[in-house]
Symmetry: C2
Subunit: 383 residues, 2 copies
Amino acid sequence: MTTAHSLPPFSNRLPANGLVHIDLGERAYDIHISGQAFTTPKFWQGLPAAATAMVVTNTTIAPLYLQQLTNAIEPHYTRVLSVVLPDGETYKNWQHLQTIFDALLTHQADRKTVLFALGGGVVGDMTGFAAATYMRGVPFVQVPTTLLSQVDSSVGGKTGVNHPLGKNMVGAFYQPVRVVCDLQALQTLPVREMSAGLAEVIKYGPIADMAFFDWLEANMSELRAGNAELLSLAVQRSCEIKSWVVAQDEREAGVRAILNFGHTFGHAIEAGMGYGAWLHGEAVGCGMVMAAHLSHRLGLVNQAYVDRLSALIAAAGLPTSGPVLTNSRGDASADIYLGHMRVDKKAEGGQVKFVLVNSAGQASLAAAEDGVVREVLGATCEV
Amino acid sequence: MTTAHSLPPFSNRLPANGLVHIDLGERAYDIHISGQAFTTPKFWQGLPAAATAMVVTNTTIAPLYLQQLTNAIEPHYTRVLSVVLPDGETYKNWQHLQTIFDALLTHQADRKTVLFALGGGVVGDMTGFAAATYMRGVPFVQVPTTLLSQVDSSVGGKTGVNHPLGKNMVGAFYQPVRVVCDLQALQTLPVREMSAGLAEVIKYGPIADMAFFDWLEANMSELRAGNAELLSLAVQRSCEIKSWVVAQDEREAGVRAILNFGHTFGHAIEAGMGYGAWLHGEAVGCGMVMAAHLSHRLGLVNQAYVDRLSALIAAAGLPTSGPVLTNSRGDASADIYLGHMRVDKKAEGGQVKFVLVNSAGQASLAAAEDGVVREVLGATCEV
């Protein structure tokens, strides 16, 4: 693993400064984190000039924030259009992407049109992919309203839709021109989604920053309760770590895979239970416990580390034991897990790779024998 | 217009060397032009390593060249899959793009899979877009089998599909890792398509190279008849000029627009007649006559130039006068032309721009008054 830039050290000083610069050369952009995002004019100034802006959002978020965002950006465009999608991962498909293109073309939106993604990961991924491909690319701004999207999906340029045969199978790497995170929006987040978002926050400790891990342990109950000042710091540090990783590997050819800590197990849970039964963050939370067990069995961390990470994940309100998977053929649960891992898109050339961590807060990527994975599943799944 | 690299001077020496390097930094690639492309092993060596290759082609090309291409690439992959699409622009849509994704996912093709586009512009654009978006990007190789795609659509990285409300409205800029042009394939090209391809060849003279214009005048009947040695030079010079333009402006923010010489008028003809009634090259051929008239009216070229370009376009077997357009509202033909130009995606902010040429072989982009455009249409359309 080579690091182009070193990660700045963690500072627990409050308030956080609310700005993260994503260094991707000509695709560089800024993330602004604020409790008054919609009423702070400077966050909406200096975007690419255009006659038309279009806000893409969903039926849950539109009544809460569409008017606020429209008011914020209206001074800069001749017209602000909007598209309201149904809410949910089920609708992250080509058919609903098409409604964005239909609206753009019906209104004769030109190739300078700026798209705004107002919502969680589904809205961000779909709007980003629409921006990547409408007339071969128009600018877009991420306005993530969930913790998960603020700390993960809005950073790094992954966009796309699901295919009936797999999640995120059709998409593009395409960077936004800006990200604006409104912390106020987290106050309307259901508690289960808050916990799911915290899973991705926790992730950044084990893979990159044990000081942040310590801070999360000390502050988890306040974070879970929605303390805006602490959340501001958690979002900022998460974005700093993610951007540090992404800057080294924009197109996920190598080191970026460490961001998938817990995800190989997590994806198997999501697929095995049927997408939507577990939230992505819940599956990742549990997956991190499994990956910590695997790291322990491979000699990278001790049992105390595994217990500590498991306790933090439990404190975030996340599951720490995996479900027993079943299928119509009556296969054993571990076989079903392994089967889902093999079709996961990270299984290049058929070999399943796992992100492992050590006690110094560093991650690595390695294959593991099926036998060891079975042991981990035996130790971490409900019976 | 700034030129990062100067265009190498035209050489009419035969045989052409058959190699054009496209200088796009980390996205650089080579174009190989050969009469024995499928039986020349070196053209298929050194591509990205992968377990799986997938050839995308159509029902017309598959019986002619699919086996030849499969034989050529088989030594380098564990398996070579293929997808055969129906032939025609009508099928350049999401539904048929989906058949490519379906095939890739059904065969569990991983993110290193290399796609090969075997066919004309439709196959190239769709395969390129599938490659741009399958798992957020896999490598692809263009194997263009029509003159139009060899000299135009396979170079420059434009990929995409049509939308019911407009052509190429959904797509991406995405470069192939290599282009291999087989000149033998041009022998099976219908004569009307040969002429349509020659329209894009002719285009490169007025916008960039009057020496090439002279050479085309001297050799047009031989080119039209399929002389492989001359075609090799015409393809190579066309690719050199296109790549010289594209290298200056990969994402069509400025100078690249000069490649649309004749296209603003041409697209109006295509849209006005219903897509498919005129071949794209036929509409562009006629559109270049119109654009030359416009350049004359704006004082950039003399009448002799207009006559000379019109004669060359006629010699290529292309139409030189535009159709009278009609619609159900009974609008005047010129109004229908102007209406189509305004919805063309080049009409940013509502202003229609035209590529104009001067007698030195240089192009520029300018708006024109409706009145002048009407005069041009009056002078160049059938009555």
